[in-house]
């Protein structure tokens, strides 16, 4: 085990996994919020676009999205983030993880919005707030609180789904696992170590989410 730590960049791989998770979580949250707003907007075209987005990205396997990104978009169409193969794969992984999980963030937020009684929106409109003010001042703050539990589940899934990036050659922790296994043969210890990395990353998030949803719960 000590030998492995010396011969392979284990900490670098863990750091890459954390970077993928954090950057994709930010990307997914931004895109997911925009799509959620589209899905509840009064404009039918935007609602349609939002629904299509969710249907396309939620129902496509992440592996397919990632392979399509580097082989299809980057290789065939020449849409590259960087000339460096590893950098390119890294940023495509962030992009696809963001786009894919945005669909789930959107649905988590929308379920949160549905927990806000219709009267809240009516009251917001009747004091003269515009659609965007009603959303930002009244509906979304309450929706986020109602959506904490499903959001946390989505973020946990996102952290674990970063392992799929190994498929397109990103040297995250799963990529490292692959490499070590190929070079040294399968070892229970290394599997266990990788599993522990994810437990350490996700378990506190779950605990934090539970206490947050309890603390933020909107009393009615």
């Amino acid at each position: 085990m000590g030998e492995l730590l010396k011969n392979y960049d284990v900490w670098g791989a863990i750091w890459t996994t954390i970077q993928l998770a954090v950057l994709s979580a930010i990307g997914a949250t931004v895109i997911g919020t925009i799509v959620a707003i589209m899905r509840v907007s009064p404009v039918a075209v935007l609602r349609g676009l939002g629904t299509s987005y969710v249907n396309i990205f939620r129902n496509t396997p992440l592996t397919v999205l990632l392979v399509m990104s580097v082989l299809g978009l980057a290789f065939i169409l020449g849409l590259s983030f960087s000339d460096d193969f590893a950098r390119n794969a890294y940023w495509w992984a962030v992009a696809m993880l963001s786009l894919y999980h945005a669909a789930f963030i959107c649905e988590a937020l929308r379920s949160g919005i549905n927990t806000v009684p219709a009267g809240q929106a009516e009251a917001a409109r009747s004091i003269g707030l515009t659609f965007s003010q009603s959303l930002s001042q009244v509906l979304l703050p309450q929706a986020f609180r109602g959506a904490v539990a499903p959001l946390v589940s989505t973020y946990i899934a996102l952290i674990k789904n970063t392992t799929v990036a190994a498929v397109i050659g990103v040297t995250d922790i799963a990529g490292l696992l692959q490499e070590i296994t190929e070079n040294e043969g399968a070892q229970l210890g290394i599997f266990f170590m990788v599993a522990m990395v994810f437990v350490v990353l996700t378990l506190p998030l779950g605990v934090f989410g539970t206490s947050l949803s309890r603390r933020l719960a909107v009393k009615r």
Binding site: A123, I127, Q137, P141, Q142, K219
Partner: protein, 246 residues
């Protein structure tokens, strides 16, 4: 009657096949207090809610202070700011304190500086008797207190007219009067009010006119005294017979 503030002309509305508002023509003068009364499903709440377009309508027109009600967007938001609305279920913003509930509109819509908005909000809360609860959240207050806060929230926008959609129907009996007292005071101060209610005591004390609706039509209009003691139409007689026998 003074210059009409709210004018509804041939307003019609359907819910699918159901014709909920039929050729509604109604003028409400400045400072007038009008009671909308009628059996369940008569369209009185719907009528009240069309005045600030929380309910859409297909035909006819509504003007407020000479301005036609816009379809949507910023113009509609601006107009709604001038029309106060008090709901049956209070609808205070559950995630904001009492004070924030009252200052949200003035700060975001009227662009009033925060300190000034808070000072005015405290005055209004004082007036409706819940100033000492300003730091609490809506769920910590009784129904009567919440409804008085809702009235203060509307007043903070300095509305030209206030709509009350069954403001006391969700309240426990002992809390009804504290809300009605506030409304009577408002009426005496000259606020223009449209009130959907069955509170006859309030109607007698504060209203100039009772409008009786049935099946989406205005059936009868009279002063409260006249309407309650000597209704003209059979529908009104039948309705009053039902609510007065107990």
């Amino acid at each position: 009657m003074s210059e009409p503030l709210v004018v509804m002309k041939d307003v019609n509305k359907h819910y699918g096949d159901l014709h909920v508002l039929k050729d509604i023509n109604l003028e409400i003068g400045k400072g007038e207090v009008v009671i909308l009364i009628g059996p369940s499903g008569s369209g009185k709440s719907t009528l009240c809610r069309t005045i600030n377009r929380l309910e859409t309508f297909e035909a006819g027109s509504i003007t407020i202070d000479g301005k036609e009600l816009p379809q949507e967007g910023k113009a509609l938001a601006d107009l709604r700011a001038d029309v106060g609305m008090v709901f049956q279920s209070f609808n205070l913003f559950a995630h904001k304190t009492i004070l924030e509930n009252v200052t949200l509109g003035p700060i975001k819509v009227r662009k009033t500086p925060k300190a000034q908005a808070e000072k005015r909000a405290m005055e209004l809360l004082e007036r409706v008797g819940v100033a000492h609860q300003a730091a609490k959240y809506p769920a910590q207050l009784s129904g009567g207190q919440q409804q008085r806060v809702a009235i203060a929230r509307s007043l903070a926008m300095d509305p030209k007219v206030m709509l009350f959609d069954e403001p006391t129907s969700a309240l426990d009996p002992e809390m009804i009067n504290e809300v009605l007292d506030v409304m009577v005071t408002l009426a005496k101060e000259g606020m223009t009010m449209v009130v959907v209610t069955h509170e006859m005591g309030f109607a007698r004390k504060a209203a100039q006119r009772v409008v009786f609706l049935a099946d989406g039509q205005i059936v009868e209009q009279a002063t409260p005294e006249e309407f309650f003691t000597n209704p003209k139409s059979d529908r009104a007689k039948d309705f009053l017979g039902k609510i007065l026998t107990h």
